[in-house]
Symmetry: C2
Subunit: 333 residues, 2 copies
């Protein structure tokens, strides 16, 4: 199989907001796999906020002048690995490109069955795993407790809220538009939700919707929203730091824990985590999640953008809340 392979390079470090200048699109030819490698014809690419941190080198992933990394689903186009045949449906940590050549050891079969492709990049993929592993390992959740989710209609937040409901918690969230709030309340079954852009005081609003306080904060946003949740935390509350999308584009974080002494008086625990430590639990999660999907307890929503060359613009829009639910690129060929 020959032909061009369109790729998106990380070509300049962002200063402040990530901008189009940070990326460049170019074409090469499809790689010939070495022994043990496969080539995936990428069908969909996942765009996620964590990549912004990676661009700062903080997670040690992205190097300048390399093709951006990202999770993909697609079919095997060439195989020199015994476990894979042409046409197999797979998931991998690939790259922002049409064809990714990877060691077969880093590729995983997926059974798209009647579910389709894109859920394996959202609620049946690492996004869902992020939500589940965070709750499972770091939240010590108890039925009847109240969880607050920021960016609640987002890819991770929406799964957090739905799993929390499955586990018997009261789920409360905020989002940045009335349509997203409507989705939280009427599609996903959140107990309460509000538009943080149109309320006078976020802390008071959280207090109104969480009359018994907040036991668990699943933090995706940071900044003023974090501050507002923090003020509503209950005794022995847990703060799971999963993301801080409001902070990624700032040169200097404006994100501070306002009163550390509250950690003592309220006996709080705050824990930062990354899903990469839980990659080996993906099969366990997918099995659980397929069941929840079948029962109608777990839903996803996606914004799908066409064409790998549009990935930079879509990624930039992610930090302005342009997407609704999971942001995915449909790779053109």
């Amino acid at each position: 199989m020959d032909g061009p392979n369109k790729q998106v390079f990380y070509s300049a470090r962002p200063e402040g907001h990530v901008a189009a200048e940070c990326f460049s699109v170019s074409e090469t030819s499809i790689a010939d796999p070495a022994d043990g490698d496969v080539v995936i014809a990428n069908k969909y690419l996942s765009l996620d906020p964590y990549m912004r941190m990676a661009m700062l080198g903080q997670q040690g992933i992205e190097n300048l002048n390399t093709v951006m990394g990202g999770r993909v689903v697609g079919t095997i186009a060439k195989s020199r690995h015994p476990n894979f045949n042409e046409g197999d449906t797979v998931f991998a940590m690939g790259r922002w490109e049409q064809y990714s050549c990877l060691p077969g050891t880093q590729v995983r079969h997926i059974d798209i069955g009647n579910v389709g492709w894109t859920p394996f990049l959202s609620h049946l993929g690492f996004t869902g795993l992020t939500a589940w592993a965070g709750l499972e390992h770091y939240s010590n959740l108890q039925a009847g407790e109240t969880i607050f989710v920021s960016a609640a209609s987002g890819a991770v937040g929406s799964v957090v809220g739905q799993i929390a409901k499955i586990k018997g918690l009261r789920a409360v969230g905020c989002a940045g538009s009335d349509a997203k709030v409507d989705y939280l309340l009427n599609e996903l079954g959140f107990d309460a939700a509000f538009n943080y852009k149109t309320v006078d005081n976020i802390a008071d609003e959280i207090g109104k919707h969480c009359p018994d306080g907040v036991d668990i904060d699943f933090e995706n946003v940071g900044g003023k929203i974090f501050d507002a949740v923090f003020r509503n935390m209950n005794l022995k509350g847990r703060l799971l730091i999963c993301g801080g999308i409001s902070q990624y584009n700032l040169e200097t974080p404006d994100y501070a824990v306002p009163n550390l002494l509250d950690f003592i008086t309220k006996q709080l625990t705050m824990r930062g985590f990354t899903v990469r430590n839980h990659a080996d639990e993906i099969e366990t999660y997918v099995e659980l999640a397929r069941d929840w999907v079948a029962k109608g307890q777990l839903k996803g929503r996606e914004t799908i953008v066409q064409g790998i060359a549009n990935a930079p613009d879509a990624f930039i829009g992610l930090f302005h809340g342009d997407n609704f639910g999971k942001l995915i690129i449909q790779v053109d060929r």
Copy 2:
């Protein structure tokens, strides 16, 4: 038994620094115990930084115009509880006064043996328990790791460092005078220590003494010292928030976690705790600690101030580092 009972009242809320005006000394007569109560002739009173938070009502302890609360050791002067006889040596959460009348259920026998009284208010008491319980329950310590202790020559910090050494960790600390640093290095066996008042850059200094980074921060101080330790934290580091003496006298904390995204990239855990949740472990701890004392692995140092009426001044001095080790009042009679 009759006579006067000198008492220190909490008579005005502090504004900014706690000051002499917050306290008043008066005299009443010794109480007659009701059925089930005992009267302790207090011999020593423990003064601790946490009381400053209690004065703000943050820990729900101190009410205005009541006698200040504090841990005491002494002898039973009167008993109407079957477990106690006149002359028994006891420990209790008593008050800043010469004689404390308390329910017998809140009083504990101590065997002062050849150890003496004051260790039961310091390294054989709740101060030591604070250090031990913090490490035991929240640090997940591993031999070979590096722990940083702020206020390391203080009542809690000095025990933290010594227990860390017993457990095979590398213990590094800072204190506010060269004499205290000398004590850490040459008496308590810290691996490294420095005077934070005389170094150019605290973060760099910590880095110099912790070449492999900091795995555990046992935080007693807060503010700029916390900030400096935070910058040196290792991947999967644990921050135990035990106290924040630099912050207690501030109207608005100047104490912020500088970069919350580090919680994600470094997978940090921060946990605030209070020894009151571990009160039922005191006997377990004392048994361990007696053994460590006998082996010369655990030492304490005290500043003893004479006279209950001098408790307010001594307490104020605690926030200026006037004491060396545990601050104790010898109650006059």
